[in-house]
Symmetry: C2
Subunit: 221 residues, 2 copies
């Protein structure tokens, strides 16, 4: 479903060249529950942002369902992203003026879904992350881990083919994190949804059916 | 050094009353390396924000070095905070337009410290968190864990009496997190600096010399 070849990402900082990713090759099949592990600064977020089509590579190619995303216009890329990919950002990226309910409902507004059905799907997603009684809270009226769980519910609600989760359990205690991971595992096994985690949480790695190690922008064989 | 009595924090959300903290009593002595543990939403950040004088309680009192902070004007409170407290926020709160170096240097600008000495203290703090080669990066040119470490360096550089650290290792891999905690432990043992952590990281709890459990806004005896 996802095929990455020779993927490279470089940044210039003044005159210094930063090699964030150096020639990554990776194939991801349907049903994978994949953990990308590696130390802070090793390139996990950079890799997820490229596979998630929210950043452009310096070199190399990414194919999703056999479509090379390099051949797409930015409109087509946005369309592919909205239809197939759910993204849980490392910094949550919730919309501050919207409630938890409205943040989770937001990606459903693009689709022709009736209001009742939207409400049912949003409340079900919030229930899956243990926040059904916090639907009216805005992000600044939630704890750090509660905001993170709203970001998870938002990625699950559109039932995408691929979910990219960047450190989704970083702000969650053991019990809450385990409960949320079990929900994700259920979706993965029930619907074949691909989950690609960036993580250093041992709980995530123990649930993964494949672990890829990143070090200084390269995959460690 | 820190004495908390009957500390209570309530929020109104529409007509609903949220009890974030309910009658907390806590005494913290010099040299303590204290972990406040508890599930997501239990009130850890709320408690740290009150002890850190960046939020006001609904009820109850907080004394720092025998001064009841309720008796202080907002200027005096800001003065106390700048002089005695270092704060590592759960969401880092770095200034986006400043480099890592400038973010760490910022709290030193209030004091009469010569530029050379400021530079030495900032580079030493960045070295302590493993980021001396990233001094020129802005926050958006850093990884999540690198931003978190800049926030840690910024709290350490003023050598405060009390450091409040809200989930300081959430975005760090095991090795990086352990290295940063060892630096903090060294400062705690060398200078008697009080560290109060909000955490659910077992590594932090294993280094703590005291653990307080929070559940639904109350201390679990
Ligand atoms: N815009 C940028 N400009 C310059 N360097 C950057 C930029 N974005 C990221 N980097 C650098 O690229 C490297 C990889 O960053 P990335 O965020 O992918 O790491 P990560 O594995 O997600 O780390 P963490 O676990 O700390 O979140 C880091 O060293 C970072 O400093
Ligand atoms: N401004 C606010 N308005 C309403 N409720 C709030 C507000 N701020 C926090 N809360 C609620 O107070 C409770 C305690 O929040 P707090 O941030 O202290 O928890 P926490 O222990 O730090 O959680 P986490 O581990 O997820 O960071 C939460 O249930 C949260 O929803
Ligand atoms: Mg990252
Ligand atoms: Mg918190």
């Amino acid at each position: 479903v996802v095929e990455v070849k020779e993927l490279t990402k470089e940044y210039y900082l003044g005159k210094t060249l930063i090699h964030a990713l150096q020639g990554i090759d990776l194939k991801i099949q349907e049903g994978e529950f994949l953990a990308i592990a590696g130390p802070s600064g090793s390139g996990k977020t950079t890799l997820l942002n490229l596979i998630g089509c929210i950043d452009l590579p310096t070199l190399g190619s990414i194919k999703i369902d056999n479509t090379d995303i390099g051949d797409l216009s930015s409109d087509q890329l946005a369309e592919l992203r909205a239809a197939k990919i759910g993204f849980i950002f490392q910094s949550f990226n919730l919309i501050p003026v919207l409630s938890a309910f409205e943040n989770v409902e937001y990606p459903l507004l693009r689709r022709k879904i009736k209001k009742n059905e939207r409400k049912e799907r949003v409340m079900n997603a919030l229930k899956n992350v243990g926040l059904e009684t916090f639907a009216k809270h805005r992000p600044d009226e939630l704890s750090g881990g509660q905001r993170q769980r709203v970001a998870i519910a938002r990625a699950l609600v559109t039932e995408p083919k691929i979910i990219l989760a960047d450190e989704p359990t970083a702000n969650l205690d053991h019990q809450t994190g385990t409960a949320v991971l079990e929900v994700m595992r259920g979706i993965n096994e029930g619907q074949g949804t691909i989950f690609i985690f960036s993580t250093h949480d041992p709980k995530v790695m123990s649930l993964a059916n494949r672990i890829v190690q990143l070090m200084d922008g390269k995959i460690v064989p």
